[in-house]
């Protein structure tokens, strides 16, 4: 330790780190950067000329950049797919957060026969993987004539138990005094909920919104199955077809266009995550730990 310069020593001491912590810290940060590096590579490739993509030299930061790949992406109906995705994700999220908040509030705060059995059923349903019900549901939607429609994209995503759970947890620890005071003033349960309880439930509302929005925005299997029309595809399903086919021309120029397409696709969820990550991380750990 005597070989360590005094300044480094002080720096470590201020952070309550020992000499052994330094290599661990450096290694960990390198791993963290490497873990994120595929995203950098994605953006970097998306800005390259197709002829600069399939090369043996690795250029993390392109010498010359172009936006042609992005322009090529827009020669596909991505605007329409993006709109479909947005309509689906916004509607699904808004409905499941609102309905989840109402149900979560009722399960935590109101008393009625069957309440606890209902909650137990909600929790038990988490054991059902969506993949099991997806084939019969598809058959049902086809028979109803609802394939390739917005209702097909939206309706099956509303009943998300996560939303109920996170609001129930919040309202269980919510001080009763505030409601009692309003109740004495003659406020009914509907007014109590919408004017007093819901506005105070900001934290679970934001957590549920960002997590469910991401989930809905990324949803893959169901939109893939239920959209037969090119114009009703969502962004992840439409862009999945950008995979360059090995051994063909698309492989040669495909990766730069494909990377541009998935950069567009990943920006909303990555942005949401980096801006509101506290809610993401708390929401996810609260939502799954106690199940």
């Amino acid at each position: 330790m005597s070989i360590m310069p005094g300044r480094l020593r002080n720096w470590l001491d201020e952070r309550r780190m020992t000499a052994l912590d330094l290599p661990i810290w450096l290694l960990g940060m390198i791993v963290a950067l490497a873990w994120f590096a595929p995203f950098i590579w994605m953006v970097s490739t998306s800005l390259k000329y197709p002829s600069d993509v399939m090369t043996l030299e690795i250029e993390w930061f392109p010498r010359r950049i172009t936006f042609d790949n992005y322009i090529k992406v827009f020669s596909y109906p991505v605007v329409r797919w993006g709109l479909n995705s947005l309509i689906q994700a916004v509607t699904s999220t808004a409905l499941s957060v609102l309905f989840g908040a109402m149900a979560g509030y009722a399960l935590a705060r109101l008393k009625f026969p069957g309440r606890d059995a209902l909650f137990a059923l909600f929790l038990a349903s988490l054991m059902i993987p969506t993949e099991v019900s997806i084939v019969p549901m598809l058959l049902g939607f086809i028979k109803l004539g609802w394939a390739s429609s917005y209702q097909a994209l939206i309706l099956p995503t509303i009943g998300n138990v996560f939303s109920v759970y996170i609001f129930r947890q919040f309202f269980l620890s919510f001080p009763r005094e505030i409601e009692e005071a309003a109740r004495v003033d003659g406020a009914g349960p509907l007014r109590l909920f919408f004017l007093i309880a819901l506005p105070l439930a900001r934290a679970p509302a934001i957590a549920a919104t960002v997590i469910l929005f991401t989930l809905n925005w990324n949803n893959f299997l169901w939109p893939l199955l239920v959209t037969f029309d090119e114009s009703m595809k969502t962004l992840p399903v439409g862009i999945a077809a950008f995979t360059p086919v090995v051994g063909t021309h698309t492989q040669l120029e495909g990766f730069s266009v494909a990377m541009a397409a998935i950069t567009i696709l990943s920006v909303p969820s990555l942005l949401l995550f980096f801006l509101l990550q506290r809610y993401f991380i708390q929401g996810i750990s609260q939502g799954s730990i106690k199940q």
Binding site: R15, M17, D21, I24, W25, G28, V31, P38, M42, T45, V53, L56, I58, F99, M102, A103, A106, L110, K111, F112, R115, S125, M127, I128, P129, E131, V132, S133, I134, V135, P136, L138, L139, L155, P156, V161, V164, E180, V184, G188, L190, F193, T214, N218, F220, L221, L225, P236, A240, T243, F255, I262, L265, S269, L270, F274, F280, I281, I284, S285
Partner: protein, 305 residues
């Protein structure tokens, strides 16, 4: 609403003590109805409908024909069902331990609270928030045999180019690498939350007693994490049994059927071969497998407690 308000008024007259045990908020049914109706229609009903469909021969056109257990009998003799289940076990063997161990290692690192550990936390979690399409396409590019980054850097170690996604031997490994990158975030966050729950005086006391890093990890941290480890393993195993999207985007189950999964086969049977009854039956078999695993985990957890 009116009955509820009436009940509320009666309750208020009786005073706060009576209020809590005898009150019935009929309006509660209205509150839960908005959620419960779509929940029953789209989460519960399809399961029962699926059980029925599994006993029929049914395609997009035409009406169902009841065939009893024929679909299940057929599944047991279907080579591709077995291939799918065999592959998914291999996926499990590759993905579950990797996600658990890396997730734990990353969480232990971030939990040390070194400078910039907030940044490290974001970077480790980030892949978890993007869609399967992003994961799939990024990794098809990274795992490209000739120009992919992974083979490029492995080349420095003297490792010859691996045909990650284009050979029957490696395709399952290639898809697993992408899946670990995608799935790790959840395990990482769960471990991190559990580590932050460990009372700090416990680890500090051990430090005062002279316990080194290794002993603290072994005798204090790991025993404390046992339930979370069990939960992460189960959650990851279940999500791996359901593996589909990244397979679809990256390899289409191929080359051949080397990276096919049960859900991928269900998808093919339903969409390509238009056999909805048979597809439902295969999905039911997978569901039973998942239920058994879930109960095993619950059972093992309660045994320990």
């Amino acid at each position: 609403m009116s009955t509820a308000t009436l009940l509320d008024k009666q309750a208020a007259r009786r005073g706060p003590a009576a209020d809590d045990d005898r009150r019935i908020d009929a309006v509660g049914y209205l509150f839960v109805a908005f959620f419960t109706i779509p929940f029953f229609l789209f989460n519960i009903l399809p399961v029962f409908f699926g059980i029925y469909v599994g006993f029929t021969r049914w395609s997009i056109v035409g009406s169902p024909r009841w065939i009893g257990f024929d679909n299940y009998a057929q599944a047991f003799h279907d080579k591709w069902v077995w291939v799918g289940f065999q592959n998914v076990l291999l996926y499990g063997v590759l993905i579950v331990p990797s996600v658990t161990m890396l997730g734990l290692a990353f969480a232990l690192f971030v939990n040390r609270g070194y400078p910039l550990s907030g940044l490290a936390r974001s970077l480790f979690f980030a892949p978890n928030v993007v869609s399967a399409t992003v994961i799939g396409l990024v990794w098809v590019w990274l795992l490209d045999t000739q120009y992919g980054l992974l083979n490029h850097y492995l080349g420095f170690l003297g490792i010859e180019a691996v045909p990650w996604l284009t050979s029957t031997q490696w395709s399952l490994v290639g898809v697993s690498i992408a899946s670990v990158w995608w799935d790790l975030g959840l395990a990482f966050v769960l471990f991190l939350a559990a580590l932050q729950d460990i009372p700090s005086d416990l680890t500090e006391a051990a430090m005062v007693d002279g316990a080194g890093r290794w002993n603290r990890l072994r005798f204090i941290i790991l025993p404390h994490l046992r339930p979370v480890i069990s939960m992460v393993v189960t959650l990851q195993l279940i999500s791996t049994l359901r593996i589909f999207s990244q397979v679809y985007v990256m390899t289409n189950g191929g080359p051949g059927t080397s990276s096919q999964s049960p859900i991928y086969y269900v998808y093919q049977v339903a969409i390509v071969r238009n056999l909805f009854g048979y597809a439902s039956a295969i999905a039911m078999l997978l569901f039973v497998g998942i239920l058994v695993l879930t109960f095993l985990q619950r059972f093992m957890l309660s045994e320990r407690a």
